[in-house]
Symmetry: none
Subunit: 412 residues, 2 copies
């Protein structure tokens, strides 16, 4: 089952604002087993509201509109709904009387403006607002539910839960239950992951979305079912099929970070790590120490940005820098070893590279990064040469360094 959510209000389109009502509704609808296929924020303009409501009715079975139901001139949702539905606005006599009575009770007289809140498109019903003055509007036609709620978050939320969720359930639209899981993947570009598991996207009763960011890939798995059990079973089967193909490329699920997973592996064997960083300037240490409790397995490190600091603090022999340049496997290995020894850690990770925008050469273009792991033995080394901007190159190098250690800790 599908939904579209429309937030009405010119203020939502001002710089720096985002539409938190729509985000809340997306989550609530998901809880009813309804997938939001799009959401929009639109200014207070009846023709534009109408065009989006019409598009929503074409695209989804459930449409929720918030905002624009107040009594002032710039409250245009009533007019927009009427236009989208092709129905005239009618004044509801009972609501008109209730408004007049409410004002009388407060010693005031309702004007023409206030009575606008008694208008609704022909064929629609009002939704009671238990905590404010603007009623909502409910339309059910051709197997679809359209609900318009006020933009005040407290009113919108209580009215959705009290009146709209029940109508959706009663209409039979809240059929499926959704189960969702995120698989987190390191060490493979998006296209390689997709080649490995792309055919599983078509698994009946499931949807998969692939996302990538700075060298890491997420697969978002969603399974539908008539019951939570059925959705859960489908999800477990899809996850198992993907894990079989991806193996150790899957480093975690849900909110797992690569640093936290690597830290857990270190803790499990009572080992510690130290870092020797040049181009990442502390970003790898920052990633490790972003994990609560990292003091159990993270010792510290050396940020060796200047070449003579590489020598003075990490003990990188100046002749290696002279022979191979500061961006080289030998220097990465020396940074890893220097950090490991200086900090008394079981493992050392070293990173040196050219993050740009300047400093590239034909042999070592911007994006060249050497990474090394020192385990007290032969260790490991990796060279990257992917282009990108400074931020991307640095974040990707951190991900690869973390993954280098993770895979080493998993190796038999």
């Amino acid at each position: 089952m599908t939904a579209a959510v429309i937030a009405v209000g010119s203020e939502l389109l001002r710089a720096g604002r985002s539409d938190t009502n729509a985000v809340w509704l997306t989550a609530r609808l998901a809880g009813l087993g309804i997938e939001t296929v799009w959401r929009a924020a639109v200014e207070d303009d009846a023709p534009r509201i109408a065009r989006l409501v019409a598009a929503a009715l074409a695209d989804a079975r459930v449409v929720v509109v918030t905002g624009g139901l107040g009594p002032t001139d710039d409250d245009r949702t009533r007019a927009g709904l009427a236009e989208a539905l092709g129905e005239p606005l009618e004044r509801d006599a009972a609501t008109e009387a209730a408004i007049a009575e409410r004002f009388r009770r407060h010693g005031r007289v309702a004007g023409p403006m206030q009575f606008r809140q008694a208008d609704r498109p022909a064929g629609s019903a009002f939704i009671d607002n238990p905590i404010g003055s603007a009623p909502g509007i409910l339309v059910e036609r051709e197997g679809r539910v359209l609900a318009a709620l006020p933009g005040v978050p407290a009113e919108m939320k209580v009215m959705f839960d009290a009146s709209v969720a029940g109508r959706i359930a009663a209409s039979g639209l809240a059929g499926a239950v959704l189960a969702r899981r995120i698989l987190r993947i390191a060490g493979r570009p998006e296209s390689v992951v997709e080649e490995a598991v792309g055919d599983l996207y078509a698994t009946p009763g499931t949807d998969t979305t692939i996302l990538s960011s700075a060298g890491l890939v997420d697969l978002v798995l969603t399974a539908r079912g008539g019951t939570a059990g059925e959705a859960g079973e489908r999800l477990v089967a899809l996850e198992a099929a993907m894990r079989e193909r991806l193996g150790r490329d899957v480093y975690g699920t849900g909110d797992d970070t690569l640093a936290a997973v690597t830290g857990r592996l270190l803790a499990a064997r009572g080992a510690t790590v130290a870092v020797g960083e040049s181009c990442t300037g502390g970003l790898l240490g920052a990633a490790f120490t972003d994990v609560p409790g990292s003091s159990r397995w993270f010792r510290g490190g050396i940020v060796a940005y200047a070449d003579d600091v590489k020598t003075a603090l990490a003990g990188v022999p100046p002749e290696i820098v002279l022979a191979h340049g500061s961006v080289s496997e030998d220097v990465a290995r020396a940074l890893a070893s220097g950090a490991r020894r200086a900090c008394g850690a079981a493992f050392g990770l070293g990173i040196t590279g050219i993050a740009g925008p300047d400093g590239g050469t034909p042999e070592k273009p911007v994006g060249t990064v050497h990474l090394a792991l020192d385990d007290g033995g032969a260790g490991r080394a990796v060279r990257l040469d992917w282009p990108g901007d400074r931020d991307l190159i640095r974040r990707r190098a951190v991900a690869v360094a973390l993954d280098l250690l993770r895979r080493h800790l998993l190796a038999p």
Copy 2:
């Protein structure tokens, strides 16, 4: 002049997500004097993308779409655009050759999936992507501009500024009645900044928005005018009034970062800095080295997470740790001095604190952070005790450390 913005990506509709790209574009379009009349986030589905793009073309003169331009099966923006425009997708031979060449250069072979990025609707043009693989798509027809950009924020932003903003201006769609400036402020909480300048928000012909994040505050100033000159004059007057009240709390404007501004001050006096970090674990070094060209003034540093690493690498006397605890002014000063001397820098910055969630005590609760600056003389020290989560406490500590050095460099 009007715009509509559409963000494509099923992940944007997941619970808790909001579409920051669309919010950024709204602000950028406002800077061009263009009002965004609606924005939407839509899942990766070609017919739904097409329906929203068609509605956008009916509602607005400028349409910007982000996301869904990658090479994988669920990148549906190309198909959606073609459907909305009623044009077939065509493969561009030059782009196809460029993709093949890029893969060859990296020793790989491009597959059918990668070549999808050479497809665009007939009659459209490609927009160059200087930092990623997905080109954008530009359509100009019937006085309207439609631009599709990748969803990766860094790529979207650089491509909008480099290629789309100019096309909009050249098409005569930009109203050019708004002037905008961001004032960046450090060292004062949002409420204090607001008390200082809040009455200026009401300056006729201007709007001011205040935003704060991890110890830093931004004032977004917008001035309107019949001409660019008029808007510019209002902006200059408002900025001057605010600067008079905020003085050195204003560290920069526009895209200035505190690290970049501090780095410029260091470069101006030919000085260098080194860092000694405990709870921030490398985040301060990462902030300095995020600035292109930082090797001119950033030497390196020590990440001293474990207490014995503080002693071994930064020369923090163990008796100081015993007497005052590792989170103390004395240890922050010793970290600053140790880093300064070990790296041969003019200035050293030291940070030690309790970022939580564990490790707090009644005397030193989570959020207690000591920072110190060593300039070879008396130096400076600061103690923070603001609550927050681990990430906030660490990022705030970095901002305060940078600001400590900035103010020291500004002092007469």
